[in-house]
């Protein structure tokens, strides 16, 4: 077993054990963080590994969230099929976005993804009759039940989040070691060279974006079922910025970076709201500090300083 795999397993084991030590408040927080980390890992696959800076990932998260929520509340699906629907929604929307947006690059790509996400948010508001718009809706407790397990109660919820996170993390690790993962990195590092090695830039970037959408949709779907609330706020720009922030903080292009970033940022905001209501400031300042002084993030810095084996 390689060092990297051992490290990842250790993290998962630690998270598993943590639930027996954590007070209930942190219990729920960590569950939430793990789901958000899956979202961030998806973002990392597009941004950290392939170099696609999207400002519209909230669209994929919201697609999963709403497909699942509406599936349960509007179309009477049970949790299982609804979650699957959410996953597929994430993939489909990411594919559609990619086919159009990947005809552009750089700044234009950022703006196009931003615009698509904004249109998505506005569409949710427009169809407020079904989606309840900004107010959102609650998923009934009874429906948040997978195979007899009540996912709204603490312990099963934590397990579910952990399983989702574990699968996402290990798949991510496998991806970075695979030929596809290497070609995604190649696209980021030197697109022209990659073209001249026979790699189709469009196809690779689209694949990365679709995988990213899969993760984001899964996270959105899970978030709905586990925490029971679907609202338009999850489709706003804020939810496109958060995964970027988590990834930048934890380390873009590292597998554990997104989780670390999500964990730290969540608690940074949580702790600072004990002292001040100025948590927007914390987010803004964090972004500035990171981009000015630490663009590689924590694990990126660690990797540079000698831990070259860190994936």
């Amino acid at each position: 077993m390689t060092r990297a795999l051992a490290l990842h397993i250790a993290v998962l084991v630690a998270l598993f054990a943590a639930q027996y030590f954590l007070p209930p408040y942190h219990h729920t927080n960590i569950a939430r963080i793990m789901v958000l980390a899956v979202f961030a890992m998806g973002y990392n696959i597009a941004f950290g590994y392939t170099g696609l800076l999207s400002l519209g990932h909230a669209l994929f998260f919201a697609a999963g969230l709403y497909a699942t929520g509406l599936g349960i509340e509007l179309w009477g699906l049970s949790a299982g099929p609804a979650l699957l629907l959410g996953l597929l929604a994430g993939v489909a929307i990411a594919a559609a976005t990619g086919v159009l947006a990947l005809r552009t690059g750089g700044v234009s790509f950022m703006i196009v993804t931003l615009m698509f996400a904004q249109a998505g948010y506005l569409t949710i508001l427009y169809f407020g009759a079904y989606t309840r718009g900004d107010e959102g809706f609650v998923i009934t407790r009874a429906a948040r039940n997978l195979g007899g397990v009540d996912l709204s109660s603490d312990t099963p919820r934590y397990f579910a989040a952990l399983i989702l996170f574990g699968v996402g993390l290990l798949v991510n690790l496998a991806l970075t070691r695979s030929n596809l993962g290497r070609s995604m990195i190649a696209m980021r590092e030197n697109e022209e060279r990659s073209r001249m090695l026979g790699y189709n830039p469009f196809r690779i970037k689209l694949t990365a974006l679709v995988i990213s959408g899969l993760y984001a949709g899964a996270a959105g779907a899970a978030y709905g079922v586990l925490f029971g609330y679907v609202g338009a706020s999850f489709a706003t720009i804020q939810y496109s910025i958060l995964p970027l922030l988590y990834v930048l903080l934890g380390g873009a292009g590292t597998t554990l970076g997104p989780f670390l970033g999500a964990l730290l940022m969540f608690y940074l905001i949580d702790i600072s709201s004990g002292y001040t209501t100025a948590h927007l400031f914390v987010v803004g300042a964090a972004l500035l500090v990171l981009v000015l002084f630490a663009p590689k993030g924590i694990l990126g810095w660690v990797r540079d300083k000698g831990a070259k084996w860190l994936p």
């Binding site: 800076l53 400002l55 159009l100 947006a101 005809r103 552009t104 750089g106 700044v107 234009s108 950022m110 703006i111 196009v112 615009m115 698509f116 904004q118 249109a119 506005l122 569409t123 508001l125 427009y126 910025i241 970027l244 930048l248 209501t277 100025a278 927007l280 400031f281 987010v283 803004g284 300042a285 964090a286 972004l287 500035l288 990171l290 981009v291 000015l292 663009p295």
Partner: protein
């Protein structure tokens, strides 16, 4: 009211929108044209202009017109100053790398929003118009102030056009836009030009906000819509083309006004956002820009 007059009302509302949008968008366009950076905090410069205008008019003694006139001068200066500082302390240090700049300006926008929330509060507060004049048309009465806004915006845009095409400062800006390195070789202090352009762009947004705030009310989140709309205008008009920006502002302001009056404003926004995405995908040079 019959359809005809209703349409006229919608168009007049659209003109006011277009006027303010043109000012804001020109600010964004200048920054992109000369500096090649996308400023996501542009909407917050707009918002700060409105919020500071409230403070100025609130604390300035005398009739509303005096406070308003003061705001028209003070707000662009303060907001321009903040912008210049942001450029010198942050953007310059990032060497204007496109992606890093966007992330940094996102961070700045959060900070500005927070500042407004902390010092101004979460409420929307009105600012009194400098004068109260009702123009009576055959079919409806219309606010004289709104008409004045359109003329004021035109005057300012004229002044900007003169600045860019007829003055030495404008020449320096255009030279820097064409080729940063050659400009430097000719002794132009590019850093200072960038700070000035960034300040000018922010100042224009602030002025637009001051003009609109008697109509709209000042609120710490009011920067979002202008940001999005300016983006739409600048991209459709063609990044870096001033003429394109003006034409697009007119078209979008008018159609947004009309669609909002006859249909839902949300639908208008959805169409506008999708339109700008499609333009970027299929015709990235917009209407007047150069093919990239």
């Amino acid at each position: 009211m019959d359809f005809g007059p209703f349409l006229l009302l919608a168009l007049m509302e659209g003109m006011v929108m277009a006027a303010v949008l043109a000012l804001t968008a020109v600010g964004l366009s200048l920054v992109f044209g000369v500096m090649r950076v996308v400023n996501v905090a542009h909407g917050e410069f707009f918002m700060l202009g409105a919020v500071i205008a409230w403070f100025v008019t609130h604390y300035m003694p005398g009739p509303p017109a005096v406070g308003f006139a003061a705001a028209l001068v003070i707000c662009p200066l303060i907001v321009g100053g903040i912008a210049a500082l942001s450029d010198t302390l942050i953007l310059k240090r990032l060497k204007y790398d496109p992606e890093a700049t966007i992330v940094a300006t996102i961070g700045l926008s959060y900070i500005f929003q927070q500042a407004a929330l902390t010092f101004y509060g979460p409420d929307a507060r009105p600012v009194l118009a400098p004068f109260d004049l009702r123009i009576q048309l055959p079919w409806f009465g219309y606010s004289g102030y709104k008409i004045a806004v359109v003329f004021a915006a035109l005057a300012i845009l004229m002044a900007v056009w003169v600045l860019i095409t007829r003055t030495r400062a404008g020449l320096i800006m255009r030279a820097t836009q064409l080729d940063r390195n050659t400009a430097r070789a000719f002794g132009i202090n590019v850093d200072r030009v960038y700070a000035a352009v960034f300040a000018l762009g922010a100042g224009l947004a602030a002025v637009a906000a001051v003009l609109i705030v008697p109509i709209q009310q000042a609120h710490y989140l009011m920067g979002h819509d202008p940001l999005l709309l300016s983006f739409i205008v600048v991209i459709i008009g063609g990044l870096g083309s001033l003429r394109g920006t003006l034409v697009a502002a007119l078209v979008i302001g008018l159609s947004d006004g009309v669609i909002s009056v006859f249909f839902s404003p949300t639908l208008a926004k959805i169409l506008a956002t999708l339109l700008v995405a499609m333009v970027l995908v299929f015709r990235p040079q917009g209407l007047f820009g150069a093919k990239p």
